[in-house]
């Protein structure tokens, strides 16, 4: 080790310019993918888990009656298609939110968080970078789950317009849950205890968002709780599109879409603000790198 050569190297003047944001985010995505790819084995297990889950509900659907589903307006496919859409999208959202939390915890645990945030990256870029990859990855999961369902014989009633509408609804679903992901990441940074929150969130949505049964089966107060969660609107809209051939021109689907939009517009700034607060609080008590 020669200290002089290092000093020489560092004293060279390098003109600094700001790295474009897409390059920064691209490098985050690439990094996360590389880390993710090292867990190939666990990945396969994860996918098998999803497949098993779908298979469970396939068999379960054999002992159900489709009446309640049809009453709710989802005319085609019966209980299995209904549950398949519920499971696929609920897992989609849960996987994304949990992965964000986990990667933040990992960064804290490894002490890389302090390094990244003390480098010139600002926190919004950091967040966008952290979350982008997991939405890409969970979309892949979503497709695998839906494909398994189709193989097992899920039937749909969809038109090109309704498929397009369901894609729009999925994008709104992502946007609205980005806010939830950011919010829980902010809480993790302060409390260092994210997982219980994510799990509670997961169970709450399963209970009241109509993943496994139409919302109408719930007593009125739980139905109202369900209306807080964006997942409820997404599931209703997507099911109407794929199980009843409706599209965004249908007033109910449009109503669902507008609700999601509204949620996103209101929740995103709040989530960013709270994340900022959590981040500042962690910096203030010096626990950024703590686990």
């Amino acid at each position: 080790m020669n200290s002089k050569s290092i000093i020489d190297l560092l004293s060279e003047e390098v003109p600094r310019k700001k790295t474009p944001i897409y390059e920064v985010i691209g490098s985050f995505i690439l990094r996360d993918f590389k880390i993710w790819w090292t867990y190939k084995f666990w990945l396969t297990l994860d996918i098998s888990g999803s497949i098993l889950f779908v298979a469970t509900y396939y068999i379960f659907s054999m002992i159900t009656t489709p009446e309640r589903i049809q009453e709710a307006g989802y005319t085609t496919g019966g209980y299995f298609t209904f549950a398949l859409i519920g499971i696929a999208f609920q897992r989609y959202v849960f996987f994304a939110v949990q992965s964000i939390n986990e990667s933040i915890r990992e960064e804290q645990w490894n002490g890389t968080m302090e390094t990244i945030l003390s480098s010139a990256t600002d926190f919004k870029t950091f967040l966008l970078g952290e979350t982008s990859f997991f939405f890409i990855a969970s979309s892949a999961f979503l497709l695998i789950t839906l494909f398994t369902g189709i193989l097992l014989g899920a039937t749909f009633n969809a038109t090109p317009y309704s498929i397009l509408s369901s894609i729009v609804l999925s994008i709104l679903l992502i946007a609205s849950h980005m806010a939830i992901g950011i919010l829980s990441a902010g809480i993790i940074m302060k409390t260092k205890q994210g997982n219980p929150l994510t799990w509670a969130f997961s169970w709450m949505t399963q209970l009241v968002s109509g993943v496994f049964y139409p919302l109408k089966l719930l007593p009125w107060y739980l139905e109202w709780v369900g209306r807080i969660f964006p997942l409820t609107y997404s599931l209703d809209g997507i099911r109407l599109c794929l199980q009843a051939g409706k599209d965004l021109l249908n007033p109910v689907v449009l109503y669902d879409a507008l609700n999601l939009l509204l949620f996103t517009i209101i929740a995103t700034p709040i989530a960013l603000y709270l994340f900022r607060k959590g981040y500042d609080a962690a910096r203030a008590d010096g626990s950024l790198g703590q686990y």
Partner: protein, 293 residues
């Protein structure tokens, strides 16, 4: 305290003979205290358990009662059918994953090195952790049963004789899986990352064990049907349902048959698990990666 007093205190040698019971107790006690320190986790986990039971209640509203009758369970509500499955599957999962979870923690936190460097025997460590696992999982199982029976008014047969049979079957079930839990812990020691049990164990038992639907429906798929009856859990759940839904006891021949099979699994797999665990310990001591995460 000054140095001189401290040194004087250490002049006296005092030491007991090695006692496995004290070691087991120490492992249990320390880990139970750690469990209690995760207060938020305990609370949210309790809430999610309750939420999940309520969810199953609503799911049950869509079930065609006729199908259960056809499957030979008589005229019972689907929720009582499912509740036995959910409670036992949860319980099994928590007990079995205890050892591998704690191994992951000990490696991650670097506390495994001091344990290996102390005179405690591996089996004492495993027993201590298991006791901790039994107690905490019993808490959650009781939660499931209490909500099911008292809040959702699920009819289950709970008399003293049923309860005794229930406990015996639970113990046999956990014993039959113990070997697998210890094996997983041994594998984690070596490969550090991820718990092979976490991902698939719950989904496989839920699917193949027939937690949510009568197993008859798998008969059309011979491979799945065979696999299902290779799993000890299927026997345990069968016995538990007989006891809690139809009022059978330990004396019933079907229950006895199930228990015997569980016992055979325990006898075969526990020694294998211990071997793998020992292999894992020796391997990391050889690689020098006891505390590497």
């Amino acid at each position: 305290m000054n140095l001189k007093d401290l040194i004087d205190l250490f002049r006296d040698e005092g030491r007991n003979n090695s006692s496995n019971l004290i070691h087991i107790w120490a492992v249990f006690w320390a880990n139970f205290k750690i469990f209690l320190s995760y207060r938020t986790w305990v609370i949210t986990e309790t809430l999610s358990t309750i939420a999940s039971i309520i969810m199953y209640f609503f799911m049950g509203l869509q079930v065609d009662a006729q199908r259960l009758v056809e499957a030979g369970y008589g005229c019972i509500s689907w929720l009582s059918f499912a509740l036995v499955g959910i409670a036992s599957e949860n319980y099994l999962w928590m007990c079995i994953s205890r050892i591998s979870h704690s191994m992951q923690h000990e490696v991650r936190e670097g506390t495994l090195e001091p344990i290996i460097a102390s005179p405690i025997r591996l089996s004492s460590y495993i027993i201590g952790q298991s006791i901790r696992g039994f107690i905490t999982s019993s808490y959650f199982m009781l939660g499931v049963l209490i909500v099911g029976i008292f809040v959702l008014r699920t009819p289950l047969m709970v008399g003293p004789e049923n309860l005794l049979s229930f406990l015996v079957i639970l113990l046999a079930m956990v014993a039959s899986y113990m070997g697998i839990g210890i094996t997983a812990a041994g594998i984690i020691l070596v490969y550090k990352r991820g718990d092979p049990l976490t991902f698939l164990f719950a989904s496989i038992t839920e699917f193949l064990g027939g937690v949510l639907f009568p197993l008859n429906y798998l008969k059309d798929y011979p491979i799945l049907w065979t696999l299902a009856w290779l799993m000890p859990y299927t026997y345990a759940l069968d016995a538990l349902r007989r006891v809690l839904l139809t009022g059978a006891t330990l004396a019933s021949p079907d229950v006895l048959k199930d228990l015997t099979i569980l016992g055979i699994y325990a006898i075969i797999f526990i020694p294998i698990g211990l071997k793998v665990f020992r292999w894992g310990c020796d391997r990391i001591r050889d690689e020098g990666t006891v505390a590497t995460y």
